[in-house]
Every structure is written in structure tokens, then in C-alpha cells.
């Protein structure tokens, strides 16, 4: 076990897989940095420092710095994937699916199906998502709810450095297109990471980060930590919460969620996406349909309001789900008659 930051778990996993498989290729804006400058290459290794040193180690044909052209970046990843390579494309911010959605949604995601199953499309699209930086309406968004609804995509949301390792390795080796969502407020998070170069975590297997009998809390990303804090403080009062870290939203580990709710009879889904047609509603509907009989109270959601993401500190923290709001939702469930 090594102590490692979330961002370094991304970098080291990419480096290990590139060393292992010559078909793995990285592309994106400033993934090298300094191209065409007096300072020369490797001025920066991606703005999140998740590709530092890759250019020096693997060269310009496998670490491709691109112009600001997200559609061309994802399209190129699609073409590389159809040509036997394993591209890892970086979108600096998840918000930039706005300028590249067609290549993700209508191309990458659909090739295998449209072509009658006669091809594979092993592309990983990494992107930094989420609020917490006061980066305002166009640089703070969550997009898993949009991409989870798109058949053909797999959507991964690691919440710890260890999960980054195991899930990113799985993603790079997976033969389907994978959206890999990295929460920008977690890049600096430090944690234990297995050293085993073959350590992988299969998709569709949620992680139970807290165990309890009274309430099921489902979350992921930055908010998972909030949920754990709530579970820990309620534990002191003798209230037990299952806290389920989804890890992947597509595929979704329905079984872990349903098994837990069958015991607790109470569900809170805590998600950073806006409320309408979001992941929280998706999971509440799943539980209402498949665990109806065991529900003791109405499934609750804790999400931001139906608004864009505001800039000011006070506004962004009021926008985001908080420990207080999560705890209130749990208590509301327990108080339900």
C-alpha cells in the first residue's frame, strides 16, 4: 500500500498502462504544454497535473497535445479506437461536453450498436467535474446524469485514490467507451493505494463505505465524504446508516442498493447534479419500483436546486448539498409516520 493523491493515482495508472500496452495513447489540451514555445515541451502536464512526464516517457506520437478543439479531440479518440488503439482523451472540464457531445453521444457511444456488434470502441474520456472552486456556471458542472442516460457509454465516478487506480485501470483495459469523471475538489485527496500493478475494480460494483440498519444513503464523488460525516455523527446517536459509494453510475449496482433498502426501508440519494432527470431521481425511481414493499418512508433526494451554479462563495455553498441538508433528510425519514 502506498499513500497517494487522487491526481497522482490518475497519472500513475495512465503511465503504468502506457508502459504495459503500446496501443494506449493520450490526447488533450496542454497534456504536454509548451509545444511551439521558447520554453519548450512539458511546460505543464495537463492543468490537473495528470499527465506530467508522459511526453518525455512515451513521445509525441503517444502523448498528443491538441489545439482547443474538443470535438476533434473526442472524434480523434473515436477514430483511434476504431483503428485498434486505446485512446485516453482529456476534457479539461466536464462542462466542455457542450462543445463535443456529438462525438461522445452520437459517435463513440453508438458505433458498436449501429455497426451490428462488429467493432469495439475502447476509448476512455477523462474529465474534471464538480463544484467547490467557485468556478461558476460554466466550469463547475456535474454531467454524469446526462451521460448515464446515453446507451453505449459507461460512466465511472471514483471517490478515493484507490478507486481511481482500480477503476481507471479497468477503464483503460475495457473494450467499450468509458467516461471517467474526476472530481476536481478531490484531486488533492490523499489515501492508501494498492501497489499491485494488476489491481483493478470491476465496473458495476458499489462500495459500502459505512454500514448501518436504519437508513441507506447513496452517493459518490465529493459528496460521499459529506455522507460519511453524517453517518459517523449519527452513529454516535445510535442511528445506523449504510453509505453506498456508487463508483459507477452506468452500469449501476442495483443489487447493492436494493439489498440495503430491503433492510433499512429508508433511502436518501445525495447527488451533485441538478434535480430534474438527474441521478438521484433515477435511483429513487428504481427503488420505488423494485423495493416498494420494503419502503417505510418516501425516498428522499438531496441535490442542488434547479439553477445554474453561482459564483460567490456564499452562493456556491448554499447551492451544494451540505452535511446539514443530508442529516436533515435522514432525520426526516426517521421521523416519517
Amino acid at each position: 500500500m502506498a499513500q497517494m493523491m487522487y491526481r497522482d493515482a490518475v497519472l500513475t495508472t495512465i503511465a503504468e498502462e502506457m508502459a504495459r500496452d503500446p496501443n494506449v495513447v493520450v490526447l488533450g489540451e496542454d497534456v504536454v504544454g509548451g509545444m511551439g514555445t521558447a520554453g519548450g515541451p512539458e511546460a505543464i502536464g495537463g492543468i490537473w497535473s495528470t499527465s506530467t512526464g508522459l511526453f518525455g516517457q512515451f513521445g509525441a506520437d503517444r502523448v498528443i497535445d491538441t489545439p482547443i478543439s474538443e470535438s476533434a479531440i473526442i472524434g480523434a479518440a473515436a477514430g483511434l479506437a476504431l483503428s485498434g488503439k486505446r485512446p485516453i482523451a482529456e476534457l479539461m472540464f466536464a462542462d466542455f461536453i457542450g462543445v463535443s457531445l456529438d462525438q461522445i453521444w452520437n459517435q463513440l457511444a453508438k458505433f458498436r450498436y449501429m455497426f451490428g456488434g462488429k467493432t469495439k470502441c475502447p476509448a476512455v474520456i477523462r474529465m474534471a467535474y464538480g463544484a467547490g472552486y467557485n468556478a461558476a456556471a460554466q466550469h463547475s458542472q456535474s454531467v454524469h446524469q446526462i451521460l448515464t442516460g446515453m446507451p453505449g457509454l459507461k460512466v465511472i465516478m471514483p471517490s478515493t485514490p484507490a478507486d481511481v487506480k482500480g477503476l481507471l485501470r479497468t477503464a483503460i483495459r475495457d473494450d467499450d467507451p468509458v467516461i471517467f469523471l474526476e472530481h476536481k475538489a478531490l484531486y488533492g485527496m490523499s489515501g492508501e493505494v494498492p501497489d499491485d500493478p494488476e489491481f483493478t475494480i470491476p465496473f458495476g460494483h458499489a462500495r459500502l463505505s459505512r454500514a448501518g440498519q436504519d437508513v441507506t444513503i447513496v452517493s459518490s464523488g465529493l459528496l460521499l465524504g459529506f455522507c460519511e460525516a453524517v453517518a459517523d455523527s449519527l452513529a454516535a446517536e445510535g442511528i445506523g446508516c449504510d453509505v453506498i459509494d456508487l463508483r459507477s453510475t452506468s452500469p449501476l449496482d442495483e443489487e447493492t442498493i436494493l439489498d440495503s433498502v430491503e433492510v433499512t426501508g429508508r433511502l436518501v440519494v445525495v447527488d451533485e447534479a441538478p434535480p430534474r432527470c438527474g441521478l438521484a431521481a433515477d435511483i429513487c425511481a428504481l427503488v420505488a419500483a423494485k423495493a416498494f414493499a420494503s419502503l417505510k418512508a418516501p425516498p428522499q433526494t438531496v441535490t442542488p436546486p434547479h439553477t445554474p451554479i453561482p459564483f460567490a462563495r456564499e452562493l456556491e455553498s448554499a447551492y451544494l448539498p451540505s452535511v446539514d441538508k443530508i442529516e436533515a433528510a435522514v432525520r426526516k425519514l426517521l421521523a416519517w409516520r
Binding site: V25, L27, D61, R62, I64, T66, P67, S69, S71, A72, I73, I74, G75, A76, A77, A78, G79, L80, A81, L82, S83, G84, K85, P87, D102, Q103, N106, Q107, F111, R112, Y113, M114, F115, G116, G117, K118, T119, K120, P151, G152, K154, D174, D175, D176, F203, G204, P251
Partner: protein, 323 residues
């Protein structure tokens, strides 16, 4: 450079297969038997064939919504394509894709595409893969005069220049994007090739209704691209013989335009005239090909009609490899 008798016969045959494939679809579509949107390539055969006759299966192409010609020229089976267009589960895409999504990855045909302009970035990716393998293979993006106004096409050209990707952007200027004229939609004062040139690419131009012009031009272009000089672009002036889609009133055409282009701009007629004129092939040679091709198309249609239909369970297959 002089083509062998075999090469000439093969080129003519390829163009003729496309022509008869499309002419037959044009008839069959009226009966309502064929579902969905079908865009016919008829009139542009010399481009697809003049380009693809130079390619191996390791060279990749990405096509458009008007993709039948590119598919056939790149080696997709007539049979499998006809079955796909008929929606059979034995079709090239098991009936999942249809006319706008025919692909055959093993043949280097990375798909027709229903999204105008989506192909160019994909071709850049295929070209980057070829560059990484450095075996002299290339990738080609076919685009229309309308697609060249889509942001994705521009991004792809710049990205190819920046990354020195062996990608060839082929612009088939058939003068129309749906019902709109190229003189309106492409703002440049010059032509599509000049706009591409300004992106930092070497460009070529040729008559897309003259197989020999296309073929000779592409020999140069491919030598350049395979030689590691980066991307290139070619504008071919060509003609679309049918409407944009079946049932298109074509009010945008000038008086007598269709007759004129069928008369003077027919790549098959022109090919026949020049090879018989030059005594390279006889009318009998070509007539022989014609009747073979007609028989092949007839057989394909009969087979497509008789082919297995997909079932409800098939809907769920092939979304993911593992999920």
C-alpha cells in the same frame, strides 16, 4: 500512368456496381419496401472509385450520409449492403444501422455517418493511428460541400495539420447541400480547396466526373500523404443525379440541368468514351461488365428480400461488449 486492361475493367466495374446499386434502390424505394432515409450517390461514382482503387484495407476511410458509393468502392459486399438497407439481420450491420450507418471495419470502412461533419475528426484519429504504426497507411475523410461548413470539419483540418496526421480531406462538391447552393453556403470568395489551403495543407482540385482525373490526382495526393508530409485536401467537382433524398422536388435545379448533367457529366459515359476512343477497351468488354453487374444487383435484391428479419430480442444485443 497507363492502367492495365484489368485495372480499367475493374474500375469500370466498381463504378457500374455503384451506379446500378443506386438506380435499383431509386426504383425499389418507390414501392415503400425500404425503410428510413436513403441518400443516393449516383453521379459521383468516379470520386469514390478513383480514390479507393489506390487503397488497401489498412487505409481507412470515413464516409457520410451519402455513403453507399464509398462503401462499395472500399470493398463492402453488395449482398451485405443490400440486406442492410432492407433491414435484414444478415445485413452488414445486422439491420441495426441501415443506409446511413453502413460500416465494415475489417475493410477499413469506418462508417457512413448521419451527422454531417462528424466524419472528419474520426478520420484524423484513424490517421494518427496510422502515424503511430508508421507503415505508410493513411486515412481519408469524405465530406460534401455542405459538410465543409461544419465546425467539426474545420477543427479536424487544423488538428491534422498540427499533429501532421496523414489524413486526406476529400471534398465532393456536388453544388448542393440539401436544397441550398454551394455558392451561398460556402462564403469563401474562392473555392473549398482554397479555404482548406489556408489551414496549412497542400491542396489539389480535379473534375470528379472524370475517373482518370480523379485517379491521377489521387496518385499524387497519396504519394504525398504516405510520404509523411502531413494532411492534404482535394476538391472534386461532381454531380448528384438524384434529389437529396427520395421524393425531393428539386426546385433548386436550373431548367434542363438534370438532362444536361446526365448527358455531359456522366462518369460512366465519359469513361466508356475515352477507353473505347483510345482502343483500350471495346464496347463489348464494357457491355459484358454491364450485364454481369445488373445480374449481381438483381441477385442481391432477391437475396435481400428473402433474407432473415431481425427479432425483438436482437434490439438488446451489441450495446456493450461487457456491461
Amino acid at each position: 500512368m497507363q492502367l492495365s486492361r484489368e485495372a480499367l475493367l475493374r474500375a469500370y466495374r466498381q463504378m457500374k456496381v455503384i451506379r446500378e446499386f443506386e438506380e435499383r434502390l431509386h426504383v425499389e424505394i418507390q414501392t415503400g419496401e425500404i425503410a428510413g432515409f436513403t441518400h443516393l450517390y449516383c453521379g459521383q461514382e468516379a470520386v469514390a472509385v478513383g480514390v479507393c482503387e489506390h487503397l488497401s484495407a489498412d487505409d481507412k476511410i470515413v464516409s457520410t450520409h451519402r455513403g453507399h458509393g464509398h462503401c462499395l468502392a472500399k470493398g463492402c459486399e453488395v449482398d451485405g449492403m443490400m440486406k442492410e438497407i432492407w433491414g435484414s439481420r444478415d445485413g452488414l450491420c445486422n439491420g441495426k444501422g441501415g443506409s446511413m450507418h453502413i460500416a465494415d471495419i475489417d475493410k477499413g470502412m469506418l462508417g457512413a455517418n448521419g451527422i454531417v461533419g462528424a466524419g472528419a475528426p474520426i478520420a484524423v484519429g484513424a490517421a494518427l493511428a496510422a502515424k503511430l504504426d508508421s507503415k505508410g497507411h493513411i486515412a481519408i475523410a469524405f465530406s460534401g460541400d455542405g459538410a465543409c461548413n461544419q465546425g467539426t470539419t474545420f477543427e479536424a483540418m487544423n488538428m491534422a495539420v498540427v499533429t501532421k496526421a496523414p489524413c486526406i480531406f476529400i471534398y465532393e462538391n456536388n453544388h448542393y447541400s440539401e436544397h441550398t447552393g454551394v455558392d451561398y453556403a460556402v462564403g469563401t470568395q474562392k473555392d473549398i480547396a482554397s479555404r482548406a489551403e489556408a489551414f496549412g495543407m497542400k491542396v489539389w482540385r480535379a473534375d470528379g466526373t472524370d475517373f482518370f482525373a480523379v485517379h491521377d490526382t489521387m496518385r499524387e495526393v497519396l504519394e504525398y500523404a504516405r510520404g509523411g508530409h502531413g494532411p492534404a485536401a482535394v476538391e472534386f467537382d461532381t454531380e448528384r443525379f438524384f434529389g437529396h433524398f427520395e421524393g425531393d422536388p428539386q426546385r433548386y435545379r436550373g431548367k434542363g440541368e438534370l438532362d444536361r448533367i446526365r448527358e455531359t457529366r456522366d462518369c460512366l459515359k465519359n469513361f466508356r468514351a475515352s477507353v473505347t476512343g483510345a482502343k483500350l477497351l471495346t464496347d463489348a468488354d464494357l457491355d459484358g461488365v454491364d450485364s454481369e453487374v445488373l445480374a449481381e444487383i438483381e441477385a442481391a435484391v432477391i437475396a435481400a428480400r428473402a433474407a432473415d428479419r431481425p427479432t425483438a430480442e436482437d434490439v438488446l444485443a451489441d450495446v456493450y461488449i461487457s456491461y
